[in-house]
Amino acid sequence: MDLDLGFSMLFALMLATFVGFSVIQNVSRLLHTPLMSLTNAISAIAVVGSILIAGEQKDTLTTVLGAIAVFASITNIVSGFLITDRMLKMFKEKGPKS
């Protein structure tokens, strides 16, 4: 393990956490449910690791594990983004004209 790389990853973690805190603190309470489903979809970035395992095909067991992980992540990506958009479409400034 390269010490430099380890620390540069820690730096990335620290900076991203601060960015996350400052960006998310400003999200309107109105949108907390969409926020959760959007971050859900974003954290399905685990798809990267899943693809690497499933695509490497070291042996049957790890390939199957990787494929299940790809399935789980893609499910989260697809349903997460779609439902967030579906919810956001409903937030209207003005109600329907009566």
Partner: protein, 464 residues
């Protein structure tokens, strides 16, 4: 060359994810945020497929197709089921992290390239991943009411949980010290799975908003750990964004209930409280939906306080009809949203938005409370603890100190309730016995529909 493309697409993806959350700040830019997220994710997947380690595409393709087949229907669930869907996707996130960690361990064990650093990152990833997996499944089960929502507790529960977690951590440490002791790996997995279940069992329905937020955070942290395992900065950044978001939401939820994290996780809130001292016989004033409609028609300022009962009864569209009738008469109607109303953060806002209620009419607790004394009629639709005045005055009450919506300051309170039973938290509510409160018993949807009809009849009678 392809390596540079991969890194560049990862860089762009990380940037787009940050913009995505930034644009989510306001409703008018929020959909752009989703687009940014989709493009970012697309780039991340594209970059990964270019990676020279990815040699076979069949399994990836099949798994992706299956994921799409499940993901699309999951995105079309009724909005009342959004908390369950969210819990399930936390479970999937945890599962993916746990499985990737396991696979990496097996691959590196075989290659003999397990270092202590790698093993440490894998242990954290697997622990968080599998704990989130079973914990979220339990939460989804409770939200769907497949598993009893009532907290399940037994003597020495916390001690058992801590011992299990302690053993899991010890096994993990032993594994880090000597990564080839592969028999310890299943121990870590099993204990994490078990710990996830045991952690959620004692948590009641009223605490679900906090727990869901916390699991959201764990799912993000599991992705961060995966980033350390794979030495991938994009995973670390995206996971940290998710972790930060879940953490902020849980803090907001805890504050809104005036409770600490430890209290939510280990306090087993929501057991039936044994009333201290003498319980005096008090009477509630019952009324019909017609009486309620009369009060509403003669008011100038109306505040509606929605709660979980509205979600369960799917009453939001009927509420919209009442809202329309009243605003057409020139009555000012606002909705007071408590941060923990419902089963997840922002739950009520989404349901009311679904019913086409404009979001300016949705006010947060802190915005509406100063105006409550000027309110003529306050309608409580399936809310209970969030309007319980005991939180302000009764030091012995389990919810003492929790900020509430000051419904009791309204001139008249109309409470719509399924039965005389106390709410989820099992705490009696003095508001329902107050002199200015009238109770309309029945299913929220049915009662609100009756009120809406009564208001419409009134309209046509006036027009004739």
């Amino acid at each position: 060359m392809s390596e540079i493309v991969t890194h560049l697409s990862y860089l762009a993806a990380a940037m787009l994810f940050i913009f995505s959350l930034r644009w989510l700040n306001r409703p008018n830019t929020a959909r752009r945020g989703v687009l940014a997220g989709v493009v970012g994710m697309g780039l991340a997947i594209f970059g990964t497929l270019l990676d020279p380690h990815v040699e076979h595409y069949l399994w990836i393709g099949l798994a992706a197709l299956a994921g799409i087949a499940v993901g699309v229907p999951l995105s079309r669930v009724p909005l009342t089921a959004v908390p369950q869907r969210t819990a399930i996707s936390h479970a999937f996130g945890g599962l993916a992290a746990g499985l990737v960690g396991t696979a990496k361990y097996l691959i590196w064990l075989e290659e003999g390239t397990l270092t202590s650093f790698r093993t440490g990152a894998i242990v954290v990833e697997v622990l968080l991943g599998f704990l989130t997996f079973t914990g979220s499944l339990m939460a989804a089960g409770k939200l769907q009411e497949v598993i009893p929502t009532r907290p399940i507790t037994y003597r020495g529960q916390n001690a058992v949980n801590f011992v299990l977690l302690g053993i899991a951590i010890l096994a993990g440490l032993a594994l880090i010290a000597d990564p080839t002791k592969s028999y310890l790996f299943p121990v870590v997995i099993t204990l994490s799975l078990l710990f996830g279940v045991l952690l959620i069992i004692p948590i009641g329905g009223a605490d679900m908003p906090t727990v869901i937020s916390l699991l959201n955070s764990y799912a993000g942290l599991a992705a961060v750990a995966m980033g350390f395992v794979l030495e991938n900065q994009l995973l670390i950044i995206a996971g940290a964004l998710d972790g930060a978001s879940g953490f902020i939401l849980s803090v907001i939820m805890c504050k809104a209930m005036n409770r600490s994290f430890t209290n939510v996780l280990f306090g087993a809130f929501g057991q039936v409280q044994v009333a201290s001292g003498q319980v005096e016989e008090r009477v509630m004033k019952g009324a019909s939906a017609h009486d309620a409609a009369d009060y509403l028609a003669n008011a100038q300022r109306v505040v509606i306080v929605p709660g979980y009962g509205m979600a369960v009864a799917q009453a939001q569209h009927r509420v919209r009809e009442v809202y329309d009738s009243l605003t057409k008469r020139g009555i000012d109607v606002k909705f007071a949203i408590h941060p923990v109303a419902g089963r997840m953060p922002g739950h009520m806002n989404v349901l009311l938005a679904e019913a086409d209620i404009p979001y300016e009419a949705l006010l947060e607790m802190d915005e509406i409370n100063p105006d409550m004394p000027q309110c003529d009629v306050c309608v409580i639709v399936g809310a209970n603890d969030v309007v319980n005045p005991a939180a302000r005055s009764d030091k012995s009450s389990p919810i003492f100190g929790m900020p509430i919506i000051d419904a009791d300051k309204s001139r008249v309170v109309i409470a719509i309730k399924r039965s005389k039973n106390p709410g989820f938290a099992g705490i009696d509510n003095a508001l329902f016995y107050a002199d200015n409160t009238i109770m309309v018993f029945g299913d929220a949807k049915g009662v609100i529909a009756e009120i809406a009809t009564a208001l419409k009849e009134d309209d046509t009678a006036a027009a004739a």
